[in-house]
């Protein structure tokens, strides 16, 4: 494989290490199977089919690959949860319901390199023993669904799908299932319910762990698009070699999506942990906008806790503890968790000093109030309550007790809901209020009561969950 050439102006940054995004923005590249095969596509599938399924799983386990959807759970371990004595059909679901605000990596994989995803799905299906795989793609990607549909047709024609794949006994079908605009379908049990044609109410765990009682109450593996693509590269490199990428507990590469107030927002595939927040913002994104200073960063999609410029964190470096600032945080799962936030889905949202944090929180709260499925009490009632409080603050009706109420509502949601959405909607409130108390006080001080501090609020909330 020759080193790819890229479209002018879209050349990857030298600090990047492109695996998943190798073919994104590549000149002369298209989404067809011919192009993909010319570049060595489906070779890894062939390689995997020569191995025992368990051996493939072992490779993935050895690679230390962690799920790229948000929780960072080791993929190989997840596969291992399927009961060994199972005699029901096994399903694999590709979670292409990328809806965490700030994350936009799946779009490029699906649009520009759909066969990479299909190959990843086929290898994974082989490993877990699934004969049917569904790609649950969000409704907001209509074009992506068409491209994947076409890719599946091509793969079928090329006998890479159906029975006797590549002349072996392995059989597998991949179907596209389009969502209809619900963030909660990114939660795996919510997604499964949605796929079953029900309201996507997440299931209680226990007893409904997908690997045991998943789709149609059969063992089901749900993996993110990026994670499944990584499987292909794990096969290509071998698990041990793959594990050498990145840092020991945070292996491989991952795609960071940067948006917000930086010069050059975009996507960057880096080795996990080999880049710090400061380098990401300054080197890869060209720094903050002119004349503006960094104020805050949400490092892993909108539900991750916000990090404030100027804060210091204590993280472990081997046996030692060290104190670092925001720009020094390595972009990996464990370091970000140690700093009180999370790597999540890799969506980095950067905010400069022109941003009103109450306004930002209100925007996030509006999102979560709109996306709460309404199944369980704390999230259903609390998400809208938090939004209403920030709405009122912005329109000049804040009262001093609001700050305390906001935090306590958040505390009453986090950890007490059926699914992780509870945390997702509570963490922004908890962290924003804790880290920018002066901004919230500004909206609730008696001096400012009655003054609508942000004229955008009206448009911002109109029509969404009032």
């Amino acid at each position: 494989m020759a080193d790819p050439r890229y479209i002018a102006g879209k050349k990857p940054h030298p600090r990047e290490r492109r695996m998943i995004f190798r073919n994104v923005d590549r000149s002369g590249w298209d989404a067809s199977i011919a192009t993909y095969r010319k570049d060595g596509g489906y070779r890894e599938l062939k390689k995997a089919l020569k191995m025992k399924p368990a051996a493939v799983t072992d490779e993935v386990k050895a690679s230390g690959l962690r799920g790229r959807g948000g929780a960072g759970f080791p993929t190989g371990v997840k596969w291992g949860f399927i009961p060994p004595d199972n005699n029901k059909p096994i399903y694999l679901i590709c979670n292409a319901d990328e809806s965490e605000p700030g994350t936009f990596k799946d779009r490029y994989i699906i649009h520009q390199d759909p066969h990479q995803l299909l190959e990843g799905i086929l290898i994974s299906s082989y490993a877990v023993g699934a004969k049917v795989a569904y790609i649950y793609i969000r409704e907001e990607f209509p074009e992506g669904a068409v491209i994947l549909e076409r890719a599946i047709e091509e793969a079928r024609t090329a006998k890479l799908l159906g029975k006797k794949i590549l002349g072996t006994d392995f059989e597998c079908e991949i179907y596209i299932h389009r969502g209809a605009g619900a963030y909660i379908c990114g939660e795996e049990t919510g997604l499964i319910e949605s796929l079953e044609g029900k309201r996507p109410y997440p299931r209680i765990k226990p007893p409904y762990f997908p690997a045991v009682l998943g789709l149609y109450m059969c063992p089901t593996i749900v993996n993110n698009v990026e994670s499944l693509c990584h499987v292909k590269h794990v096969m290509a490199m071998g698990g041990k070699k793959y594990a050498q990428l990145g840092t020991p507990r945070n292996t491989g590469t991952r795609i960071l999506c940067v948006s917000g107030d930086v010069q050059k927002p975009g996507y960057f595939e880096i080795e996990v942990g080999k880049l710090t927040m400061g380098e990401l913002i300054e080197d890869l994104c060209g720094g903050m906008k002119k004349g503006r200073k960094l104020k805050a960063v949400i490092p892993g999609g909108s539900s991750a806790k916000v990090l404030r410029a100027g804060e210091t964190y204590t993280i472990r470096d081997g046996d030692k503890e060290k104190t670092i600032g925001l720009p020094d945080i390595p972009m990996d799962f464990d370091s970000l968790a140690a700093c009180g936030s999370m790597a999540g889905s890799g969506g980095v949202i950067v905010m400069d000093d022109s941003r009103d944090m109450t306004w930002v929180l209100n925007n996030i709260n509006t999102f979560y109030a709109h996306e709460s499925c309404g199944q369980c009490t704390p999230c259903r009632e609390g998400s809208l309550w938090m939004k209403k409080i920030t709405d009122r603050m912005l329109s000049g009706g804040g009262v001093p007790s609001d700050v305390e109420t906001l935090v306590s509502v958040g505390n009453n949601i986090a950890g007490r809901t059926i699914c992780a959405f509870g945390e997702a909607c509570a963490w922004p409130t908890q962290s924003f209020v804790a880290k920018f108390p002066e901004e919230f006080k500004k909206h609730t001080s008696r001096r400012n009561i009655g003054k609508a501090l942000n004229p955008e609020t009206k448009t911002a909330s109109a029509g969404l969950g009032d």
Partner: protein, 165 residues
């Protein structure tokens, strides 16, 4: 409601994607088909899907009202969905929204949670805010029908609307 033969055939193909006893799984695909055909999901469409899948109509109504992707009233000829989530909001989606409404002659003062869509007086455009469209690096973004548009700053809106005649 008259469902064309080809559409019914397409629906049957979708149903085959799921195990025989789990026909309910095809609810979303079927609703997508009907919305593509008729522009929105009517009461008849709900009954049709329920009958086709052998389920209660309420179970389909549950889905239609849950997912913002389904509309229960006819949109304009071109339906615009402007992303309003954080990155796009920071990039100025609210100004974009205002500008589009101004150019297309849409009054959004009456939209509510239950009726988020506003239609232009000439019926050509309809608009609503959507949650994250997952292209946060190139905001503000919007979908016009199935077409995706990036960096729709207020100054680009006129050009955008002109593409739809």
């Amino acid at each position: 409601m008259e469902v064309p033969k080809e559409l019914e055939k397409e629906a049957d193909d979708f149903i085959c994607h799921y195990p025989q006893e789990e026909k309910g799984s095809a609810s979303l695909p079927l609703l997508h088909l009907l919305q593509r055909e008729f522009g929105y999901i009517s009461d008849d469409a709900i009954s049709w899907v329920a009958e086709k899948l052998g389920t209660e109509p309420i179970k389909i109504l549950e889905l239609v009202t849950f997912y913002p992707g389904f509309r229960q009233k006819a949109p304009g000829k071109y339906h615009i969905r402007v992303c309003r989530t954080l990155s796009c909001a920071m990039a100025g989606c609210h100004q974009t929204m205002e500008k589009i409404c101004e150019l297309a002659g849409i009054d959004r003062s009456n939209v509510s949670h239950h009726d988020p869509i506003a239609i232009s007086t000439d019926g050509k455009f309809s608009i609503e805010f959507a949650e994250c469209l997952a292209s946060c690096g190139t905001g503000p973004v919007c979908l016009v029908g199935d077409d995706f548009h990036e960096e729709v700053k207020p100054e680009n809106t006129e050009q955008l609307l002109q593409q739809y005649k």
